[in-house]
Amino acid sequence: MRAVLQGAALAQLRSAELELEAGRYVVLSSEADALSSLISITAGRERPRHGLVLLDGVAPASTPGARRKIAALFAEEALPPAPTVAASVARALAARGADPGSARALLSDAGLAPLADLPERLLGPREARSTALALALAHDSAELFALHEPLATLLASSFVLAALARHTARGALVLSTTTSAADANALGGHWLCIELGRLRALAATPRLGAGPWQQVLVETSDRRKLSQLLHESPLGLSTELGTTPNALKVTGPALDVTVRELALLARQHDLEIQRIEAAVPPVEALLAARAGFARGAYEASRTAALGTTAAASPALPPAPEQRIQVGLESPFPPETP
């Protein structure tokens, strides 16, 4: 599946420029309406007001065959009307061409068995979204998963992440949107960002700069040696000591780059990694990052106007396998004298 969005706009989403191949992507933004619109147009729920959305060359909003290959979770969900939730799920499965008899098993697998016999119209928004997510994750022939806040439902995060990993492994394109940095960390994959209603993911877009939102907490048998190795790394990683004797806090250009480098160095130098996790950034750090986006643009244009590149931040080498990168500048660009 190849998804192409060319200047696609709808409501608060002012413009989305994307070319996505199979893989896992997460769009992080504080603009919930824009995220919801992105999922709506990608899944073919609505046509974009401007621009194009093409999945393998066809518009999903006007092609039933393309929608059959999409599993979606919208901000507001409506299940097919039926006397019970199980009957509603069965109706959705029948529409998809799957076996309606597996509805109860599907709900049970997702931990939603208690909902099966409830009247469908009595479901609250969260329960309806949970059922819709269970339906989406069970779509084994889907080539595109377009999911809005997939970790904000009644389904266990471990179940959702395992299902997404399974679908990614079989070659599906998983596009998730969230307003939570912690959820984005958990969802993993390539990060994208919507800023002022605009989403742009091109190969030349800079990564999210180093900062507390790109920190990894690692516990190792020899943190001094690991720290030294990391400082020698060409990726510009920095370290500081953690609160426990084995802990080390590593800050890098992007989580995946940092973790890959950590794993590589540990293997090469026979260091044991006892624990590794992404540090959840505080809200203030994310707000600072947002402010830094505007500041970075200002600094870049000022530098260009002065005709000097000396003051500009050194560019980090992009990871070869990461095509889509996060569109934020460093939040704390160096002050120009």
């Binding site: 899944a43 073919g44 729920r45 609505e46 046509r47 909003a61 006007s62 092609t63 039933p64 065959g65 929608r67 059959r68 290959k69 999409i70 979606a72 409506a78 299940l79 097919p80 009307p81 039926a82 006397p83 109706r91 959705a92 029948a94 529409a95 998809r96 061409g97």
Partner: protein
């Protein structure tokens, strides 16, 4: 497959107590109006009750309600979304959605108009059977036509407000007999019942105009909501 799924969708949404209550209210209003017209004067009571309370007020309001229920109070596109998102054709789903709604409205219009004729004319009136037979087919046609028009209009507006604007236009513009009344069902239903003619159309012309404009609304609505 998609049409069948659309029929099931509408059946499920319409098989609620609110539909029964609305039908009972509409029937009570029609019969009450018929009794008042008969009390006012037996001559022309059937015509006044049919063109006024029955086909003029109760039927459009009930059809509006039924379509709003079938669409779950939403835009036509969103109304079929629970199944269209899984790969079913929106146009076929819309047609499926229209079928049970139109059948219900047509049955109600036919039955209620026969009862109105019975109340206004009385059992002994020699015109009872011919008038009832005429009302039967006019009721069947106009009920289905109103539903088709409202479903088509539901494609307009984020929450399907198009059907409300159609209802308003039908009441306001459809009451006349000029060119402005031509697109609205009320004007042609009145013509079929023997009332004033729009642009001096014959009854056959009014029948074709009623079906033509209503199906045009439905066609435009399905075009707008795409596949």
């Amino acid at each position: 497959m998609s049409i069948r799924a659309g029929i099931d969708l509408a059946r499920e949404r319409l098989s609620q107590r609110a539909t029964l209550v609305a039908g009972a209210l509409a029937l009570s209003f029609e019969l009450g109006d018929a009794l008042l017209e008969r009390a006012h004067g037996a001559v022309g009571a059937a015509d006044r009750a049919l063109a006024g309370g029955s086909f003029g007020i109760a039927l459009p309001l009930l059809c509006y309600f039924l379509v709003a229920r079938a669409c779950d109070g939403k835009n036509l596109r969103d109304a079929v979304l629970p199944l269209a998102r899984h790969g079913l054709d929106r146009r076929a789903l819309t047609l499926g959605l229209a079928i049970p709604t139109a059948l219900l409205a047509a049955a109600f219009a036919a039955l209620s108009s026969v009862l109105v004729v019975l109340v206004t004319r009385g059992p002994g009136d020699p015109r009872l059977v011919p008038d009832a037979a005429t009302c039967l087919w006019i009721g069947l046609t106009s009920g289905a036509a109103y539903v088709a028009a409202f479903i088509g209009a539901s494609a307009l507006g984020r929450r399907g407000q198009g059907r409300f604007w159609l209802l308003v236009a039908d009441f306001v513009l459809g009451a006349g007999d000029s060119f402005l009344a031509l697109p609205w069902p009320k004007a042609h239903v009145r013509n079929l019942l023997g009332g004033t003619q729009v642009l001096e159309l014959s009854q056959l012309g009014a029948l074709f105009a009623l079906l033509g404009t209503s199906l045009a609304f439905l066609w435009l609505g399905t075009l707008r909501s795409q596949r």
